[in-house]
């Protein structure tokens, strides 16, 4: 029986069957977990995601190493808004909305650089490094109530960072960043602990590319190890041909080595795997070349001496693909990549990816890191283009959502205890929290006022 129903979840009429009211079916008693494919195609859902998820969560803005000196800046688009990430005259990291307070033009149109201040060419208003309005041509024509102090560059309600990772929240009522990150902090620590100085840095060169697929499909893909053997067989073959030993999957496994999926709270989740694919910090594999062996061994010794055996083994001998809800991925595998993405349409997202490495890394180690990065990751790698193809293929399939409304996500759901990296606990964690945010109470008026 089909009928027109008003779905309070979406605040709009939805032509659907009654059973389709929920977008995420989470019924552990019946061992059922399904995601409705309308969530990947409906523009009204995207609009609600922008208000209820992207405007409420902590969103990755950039890395402290991108702006080292007072006046350094980078500009980018975050949740649809133009922003400036910069260091002010006192050396503090700031995030400004890249918007003139007068009429709204952007005040910085360069990708990055070092600025004495920011200047709106439209009518000539200028702002200093700290965002204060310091120049208004013809100010005498404004009334006495005109107050330059009230008209500095605006910032999002919250800006904070954790170990170099800078986040903003557009929600005035956001919880503190450290609370929000929950169990993801420990995994960021494992990434940053690779560095003897305790500091990581973004390496020059940015990969920015669009994918014709819904943004949530990239969340799933970024820590879905179930797809690795079938989607990435050409990469595995190349590794084998390069002398890298790829073990046969242990009993009950799909992947060559043991790994688990874990929920980290607040929608963050991770896969945590025994390494078989090499790590610049620090597990040598044949593809790095014999000449790199002493350097990788030296790095490994330093980590063991600094962190002790147990933690050093975690840093050096395990991989982690970490998703910080909703749109930050840190893949600490063949290399370290930071990847964030923003939807521009239900079937399109813009991805930005960087390579991250220890500050002060030797030129040899840096070269190994970048080479290892490119074998797998990025738009010219041996794996990422096939991921993109998979996501775009899924998006095409989503067009038949009326006939095939549900995606099945039940791997591992009947298990007690440990969940494998090829199970789907971590994907379910994302979707449960997505559903929670989307269901948050609010009237249409409140939504529009946000």
């Amino acid at each position: 029986m089909r009928e027109i129903v008003v779905c309070p979840r979406f605040l709009f009429s939805y032509h659907t069957s009654m059973s389709d009211l929920q977008l995420v079916i989470n019924d552990p008693a019946k061992l059922d977990f399904r995601v409705h494919r309308a969530a990947m195609v409906d523009p009204r859902i995207l609009e609600q995601e922008m208000r209820r998820i992207f405007d409420r969560c902590w969103i990755y803005a950039g890395h402290a190493s991108e702006v080292r000196e007072p006046g350094d800046f980078v500009t980018r688009t975050l949740c649809g808004r133009p922003i400036i990430l910069c260091r002010d005259s006192g050396g503090e990291i700031r995030v400004f909305l890249n918007v003139c307070r007068h009429r709204g033009a952007v005040v910085c149109r360069e990708r990055k650089g070092n600025a004495k201040g920011y200047y709106c060419f439209y009518h000539g208003w200028s702002y200093d490094r700290d965002g204060c309005l310091d120049g208004v041509p013809g100010q005498s024509s404004y009334p006495a109530s005109f107050d330059r102090k009230q008209l500095g560059l605006a910032s999002p309600p919250h800006v904070d960072s954790y170990r170099g990772f800078v986040f903003v929240s557009f929600d005035p009522d956001a919880q503190p960043l450290r609370d929000y990150l929950a169990g993801a902090k420990e995994y960021l620590d494992l990434v940053v602990d690779q560095s003897p100085t305790g500091e990581m840095e973004i390496i020059r060169g940015t990969q920015e590319y669009a994918i014709r697929a819904n943004w949530k499909l990239l969340v799933e893909n970024s820590f879905d190890d179930y797809h690795l053997m079938s989607t990435h067989s050409t990469w595995l073959n190349y590794m084998k041909k390069s002398g890298v030993e790829i073990p046969k999957p242990p009993k009950g496994h799909v992947m060559p080595s043991h790994g688990v999926g874990k929920a980290l709270g607040n929608g963050h989740a991770v896969i945590d795997n025994e390494n078989f694919r090499g790590r610049p910090v620090a597990k040598w594999i044949a593809i790095y070349g014999e000449d790199a062996k002493p350097e990788i061994e030296r790095i490994r010794s330093e980590v063991f001496a600094r962190l002790g055996e147990e933690r050093a083994r975690r840093v050096c001998d395990t991989n982690r693909n970490l998703v910080i809800f909703p749109n930050l991925v840190v893949n600490d595998g063949s290399s370290v990549t930071i990847r964030t993405f923003h939807p521009t349409a239900p079937d399109r997202m813009e991805v930005t990816a960087w390579a991250l490495g220890p500050k002060g890394e030797s030129p040899k180690a840096r070269a190994v890191r970048l080479d290892s990065f490119l074998t797998f990751y990025g738009p010219g790698g041996f794996a990422t283009p096939d991921d993109v193809e998979a996501l775009e293929s899924v998006q095409q399939g989503m067009q038949a959502w009326r006939e095939i409304p549900w995606s099945v996500m039940t791997r591992g759901i009947d298990k007690e205890g440990e969940q494998l990296n090829t199970d789907e606990l971590h994907l379910r964690e994302f979707w449960v929290h997505w559903d929670r945010y989307m269901a948050a109470p609010g009237t249409l008026a409140q939504e529009q006022a946000r």
């Binding site: 020059r204 940015t206 920015e208 190349y238 070269a367 283009p385 096939d386």
Partner: protein, 158 residues
Amino acid sequence: MTRAEAEDFLYHEAALLDAWKLDEWLALLTEDARYLVPSNDAPEGEPGATLYTIADDIHRIRGRVTRLKDPQAHAEFPHSRTRRMITNVRIVGGDGGESIVEANFVVHRFRRNEQVSQFVGRYRYTLRMVEGKTRIARREAILDAQELGSLGAVSFIL
């Protein structure tokens, strides 16, 4: 090397790539060849210190060809159709047996469902005479786009 010789060579290479004759293309490369596509925001980088889109040595170039011939290279299966336009060929340097050759390119890429894209940029080649034949020691494809954006991936040989 004269400009006419360089043009003939580049046109021949382009024809092989457009025809997906990848093994014949490989035979044009030297044993120490490199194939580079810099990140769009760092066109003047150095592969050991800067993140590229592609920074292959000969081993990975051969691996790339093996991969592209495998139907499991999903991003290029079925293969894209490509059509390369190469112009403004100039000999800009070189000595002894090597010539540095630059050229402008437009590579049109076609996939099903009207997925049409244009990769526009500049090639920079190091061509070397090996046993009387012209061979590619280094080919760098520097894209003009400010970001890859809707071009998506560089999954074929650009």
